[in-house]
């Protein structure tokens, strides 16, 4: 494994922030391994996206605006990745740890006969060995796992764990040929975007989450959303709030919901049951606003303010807004 290949997940040229985090990390890894950093962008809107990727320190970006990538589920992407990986030679493939990324990574493991490390938050490279650092079991353990000698390795990258830093001389954008002689079976008949324009929970640098203590759906909009917006973050929820139907399940953080690790997590009216804790405990700083100073969340928060959230949150929003202007 000498080179690095980044799989750029996108839709019509729109890509999550983690792509730029991976592009930045790819350069560092390639320098340490003594190889080159590449990216693959395929599907409608790729050429346009490749132009913005050029601001990141990659050596080459392989592009094809092939419409089949969006017409068929994943199969074309895997073929392109296999072709790119074989063209580049022994390499480490970086894939975002998203729903799509997990599918891509799993299939590459078999296609490239590669080992996989999933949900990496850091790397340690010693003597040409690639070791990924990954939280497991909802953050109850931190594991170091080595990709053993082989031509290829796959690592999925947790969003928000690595910095995105533009730089470099500008990558060469190169067309990649469509792999020949393939037919694809899984047809995408309808593709619907939901909640577009809102910051994805997993990608948000700040998460303001609400729980049972909020008492109903309205405070998520009237209380939490203004604070989240002022902090440049997103709104999340505990399972209790999602089960009560106050918010959609897509906002649920925890064991059966999403795992987030923002630099700041503000828990409002959340008791902090184990099921919630595993979805957020690797956050940078955790602040809890709760009526009860003895609730479990106090055990793993950096600051607990015991008081009335309905009085505190609007005042805090004002302070943050004032500091910004």
């Amino acid at each position: 494994m000498k080179n690095v290949l980044v799989y750029v997940q996108h839709k019509g040229g729109q890509t999550p922030k983690v792509t730029f985090e991976m592009a930045t990390q790819a350069r560092k890894l390639a320098d340490q391994l003594g190889g080159k950093a590449h990216a693959l962008v395929v599907g409608a809107g790729s050429s346009q996206l490749a132009e913005s990727l050029k601001a990141y320190p990659l050596d080459a970006i392989y592009v094809n605006d092939d419409a089949d990538v969006d017409k068929y589920l994943l199969d074309p992407v895997i073929d392109y990745l296999e072709a790119a990986a074989k063209a580049i030679g022994p390499s480490l493939v970086l894939v975002a740890n998203t729903l799509t990324g997990k599918d891509v990574a799993g299939r590459l493991v078999a296609r490239l006969n590669a080992g996989i490390c999933a949900d990496a938050v850091d790397f340690k490279l010693e003597g040409g060995k690639v070791v990924a650092v990954m939280p497991k079991m909802g953050g109850a353990a931190i594991t170091n796992c080595e990709l053993l000698d082989g031509d290829y390795g796959v690592v999925t990258i947790r969003p928000n764990a690595f910095a995105a830093q533009p730089g470099g001389a500008g990558a060469a954008v190169q067309a990649i040929e469509k792999p020949a002689g393939k037919s694809y079976g899984v047809l995408v008949e309808k593709d619907v975007e939901e909640g577009s324009g809102e910051l994805a929970l997993e990608e948000a640098p700040v998460v303001v989450a609400g729980g049972r203590g909020l008492g109903g759906p309205e405070p998520f909009d009237t209380l939490l959303k203004p604070l989240a917006s002022a902090l440049g973050g997103a709104v999340g929820a505990s399972r209790a709030a999602a089960d009560a139907g106050w918010v959609p399940y897509s906002l649920q953080i925890g064991q059966t919901g999403k795992t987030v690790s923002p630099s700041l997590y503000i828990a409002v009216g959340i008791s902090g049951a184990i099921q919630h804790k595993v979805g957020m405990r690797s956050s940078g700083t955790i602040v809890a606003i709760n009526k009860d100073g003895q609730s479990p969340i106090a055990e793993f928060s950096d600051l607990v303010v015991v008081g009335d959230a309905f009085a505190i949150v609007p005042e805090l929003t004002k302070l943050v807004q004032a500091a910004k202007s």
Binding site: L73, V104, E146, G293, V304
Partner: protein, 262 residues
């Protein structure tokens, strides 16, 4: 139609996980082994499809686990699966994602299926990569994160969750499907189901039945776990009683400022 559901046996996810500082291993004492919760959703999907299809549709549960955990599979049979296959072999211990996908796919080729349903994640390892690995080795199409599924004219139609919304897709059979948690809560085993499960077959398979051409277990794996440790201890933080909204807000704001978070 033959539906096969893979289930993994994992430490009870509702138990607080703790790493022993001396052995660096998960403390298993007092922690029960259960069906991976994500796989219960996969089984629920299989049972719903069987109910709709009727006729000679069957649901087989497949697991790779030590023989000693065989009885844990009865729960899946009690929920309504018709039979089970257990792949057990000391030679499989320490298999990573690559080696597990390789071994399980060979076993599933022997078992045979029209539709293979896999849970979206496992509660312990959580790579989410196994379904993709299985689909590749089985040379079957993969459709993931299904929240609705039906068989129409011999094809699988699903509504699936994506990172940004949802999609409707159609796949030919045989194929591999994973389920999202929005598919529906897994059913409870009825008393009749529990009684009936005692008489159902759990067939045994071992590595020698698979005809593998590559080593599995730790020696055949492509990754090696170097360390497994508890996360750095997060010191218990400050607790402040807020007399009113303004003072509570000020306390938080000052704290965030000190940490350069605002």
């Amino acid at each position: 139609m033959k539906i096969v559901v893979t289930v993994k046996l994992v430490p009870d996810p509702n138990a607080e996980k703790r790493i022993d500082n001396g052995t660096k291993r998960l403390v298993r004492t007092g922690v029960e082994t259960v069906l991976n919760p994500y796989d219960e959703y996969a089984l629920e999907a299989a049972l719903q499809l069987k109910e709709k299809a009727g006729g000679d549709t069957t649901v087989t549960v497949f697991s790779m686990a030590p023989e000693s955990l065989k009885e844990t599979l009865r729960k899946a049979l009690a929920m309504g699966a018709d039979d089970a296959v257990l792949l057990s072999d000391a030679g499989l211990e320490g298999s990573d994602v690559w080696a597990s996908s390789y071994a399980i796919s060979h076993a599933l080729k022997k078992v045979g299926f029209d539709l293979l349903i896999v849970g979206g994640l496992s509660d312990d390892g959580s790579t989410g990569a196994t379904p993709g690995g299985l689909a590749e080795y089985l040379q079957a199409p993969l459709v993931t994160n299904a929240r609705k599924a039906e068989i129409v004219d011999g094809k699988l139609k699903i509504e699936r969750e994506t990172d940004t919304g949802y999609q409707d897709v159609t796949a030919p059979l045989p194929c591999v499907m994973t389920t999202a948690l929005t598919f529906g809560e897994p059913r409870y085993a009825s008393l009749k189901g529990i009684m009936g499960a005692k008489k159902k077959t759990i067939a045994a398979m071992s590595v020698s039945d698979l005809g593998l051409s590559h080593a599995v277990g730790q020696s055949g794996s492509k990754t090696q776990l170097l360390s497994f440790a508890p996360p750095p201890v997060r010191g218990k933080g400050q607790v402040i009683e807020a007399a009113d909204g303004a003072s509570g807000a000020k306390a938080i704001f000052d704290f965030l400022k000190e940490r350069k978070l605002v």
